[in-house]
Symmetry: C2
Subunit: 352 residues, 2 copies
């Protein structure tokens, strides 16, 4: 029997989000039924409901930084039981047998299913995300939340956390690494915390002089004002890895010369054309790379959560009510949040 | 005592090259004095004399694909003796103690000296290249030419060869690799030969339907017409490595989707802004990279030459006289050469 739930949906690209009733599927034997406690607010949520990427399907219920509690499990589920604290991130399904899936890189599966706004192989229509009371997810895509982690603060780990963790790990950031982070928002502040906990020397590139103390508190060893030519020149050739979290079109050319020989700048925040033109000269003269990276695989996400459990790392958040989401989007667009909004789903009861 | 030599120089950006007398330094104890037999003609030579990169110093004697015979060696030289066949590539000096030099990556030394048009630490002025009778080079930058290789055909190995070899090796092209090459010129035809000899499956991207048979003869397993959308779609996600040899501004966006998960497109031919804007979407959705690579280190160049000796690989060339260089540049600009001009330096006697 399907499960009726209340969520918040957009119905057009210009709509505010508003209460929306829909059905979750009748659980399969491998499914976990989750009561959603918290859901982080990701910039992608807003891009999706505004149809910025041209692929929005309405009604659209966003949300892919989900923390919840298991209500029930299917007969084939052994890893979870009712009462467990669990997480669901950006993916709820993948083909399980392509090259990417076999490498544990489900995020690159071409038949993968995102948590919202993706054709749903169980139902007619498209998947609905975490801005809702409950979700039904195959156990393969359910994460364990380590004991002791603040549950609301853990929500953004499911996207902002893994999106920065995956490139840190893939490009082998460790104790001898010099890592720089571009941008201090939801992703950037997680990159600082995770990179620091991995033992790397961490630099924040920012255009805002006022962010210095906050950045240091989050783990940055050095702050470089990217608008200051002298500061930029002083870090020429320094960084093994730059995690660029900026979610809008921006010029990456000034950062390339700050990479070391064989260094890599990894784009994790911006999907689109990089303006202005990319200059190949510093790439060629130092065997440098510009790469992209998308969230992370399921095993890697669990690894990140376990690491956060050991190091007591969560996101710095501001908890809001579901009813405040539209105002929160407005503040997010002005970067007026330190550093992630998280919706307390208990607030949904006020719409009943 | 310095050594008087005849070469060919440009005196302004619009000059034809013409005979020019200058002096090579008095040999130091670690120097090798080389009679130049052949010098390959690289697109960089023309860029340099035309001041396309804004750094030309005149008179400018180009040439960095040098094959010669040792005339004499300094007292400290043990690896070479008079009569040896040797090569000199794009570099004649480096600091020998920076990170790059210590890794055998002298090409990325920030204090390195290119074979021409670079401040000369031995003399006033700038270095003079291989379009000349003789050259004096520190033994650390002199390469051994394996016995049996055609000397004229070996000249382009010193730039075109190593420029494609280095990324093939750095990105680990081997028996299980799928490698694509963009462009079939001096660099591209070497990439086909070297990649094939390394055991990789080789694809050529070309805009010219007529190049198919030539490409197959050079080692290509497959030819993809990059202007044909269906052919491009058919190779989506195929290539671990793309070596992009195109020496002018071009759109790399169509090639990125043909990279496999974790694949890398390496630019080796074009220094400048990549138009149009680079689209980050396929980079992010497959953890793909765009990188640059510059020639190769000295040890790696020797490795490449030894490999070419074992596999009897040389460049496909057209030998010209020094006096024909200006006409040859005109043909090079029209890609009317298969695949490299090599100057027979014996022809310089006609200018005496």
């Amino acid at each position: 029997m399907s499960i009726d739930v209340l969520g918040y949906a957009a119905h057009t690209p210009t709509d505010d989000l508003s209460p929306y009733h829909f059905a979750r599927r009748e659980p399969c034997p491998d499914d976990v039924v989750i009561e959603i406690l918290y859901c982080g607010v990701c910039h992608s949520d807003l891009h999706s409901i505004r149809n910025d990427w041209g692929n929005a399907h309405y009604p659209l219920v966003p949300g892919h930084e989900i923390i919840g509690r298991v209500l029930a499990v299917g007969t084939a589920v052994t890893r979870f039981k009712a009462g467990d604290n669990v997480g669901v991130g950006c993916m709820v399904d993948s083909c399980q047998h392509c090259d990417a899936c076999e490498q544990g890189l489900e995020q690159y599966c071409e038949k993968g299913t995102y948590t919202y706004n993706t054709p749903d192989r169980h139902n007619e229509g498209f998947t609905f995300g975490g801005y809702s009371e409950k979700i039904v997810v195959s156990d393969k895509f359910v994460l364990k939340i380590p004991e002791g982690l603040d549950l609301a603060g853990a929500a953004p780990l499911l996207c902002a956390g893994i999106t920065t963790w995956s490139p840190l790990r893939h490009w082998k950031a460790g104790k001898n690494s010099k890592v720089a982070v571009v941008g201090l928002g939801g992703l950037g502040h997680m990159a600082l915390k995770l990179g620091k906990a991995l033992g790397s020397h961490i630099t924040l590139f920012t255009r805002s002089p006022g962010k210095e103390q906050d950045a240091r508190d989050l783990g940055a060893d050095r702050i470089v004002l990217s608008t200051d030519a002298a500061q930029m020149a002083a870090v020429k050739g320094q960084f093994d890895l730059i995690i660029d979290t900026v979610p809008y079109v921006h010029d990456i050319n000034p950062y390339i010369p700050t990479l070391s020989l064989n260094g890599t700048l990894v784009l994790v925040g911006y999907l689109g054309g990089l303006e202005p033109f990319l200059n190949t000269v510093p790439l060629i003269l130092g065997r440098k790379s510009v790469a992209g990276s998308l969230i992370g695989g399921i095993a890697e996400t669990q690894e990140m959560l376990d690491f956060c459990g050991e190091h007591n790392i969560t996101s710095d958040i501001e908890v809001i009510k579901m009813q405040d989401i539209n105002a929160a989007y407005g503040r997010m667009l002005k970067s007026d949040v330190k550093y992630r909004f998280v919706i307390d789903m208990a607030s949904l009861k006020d719409d009943k």
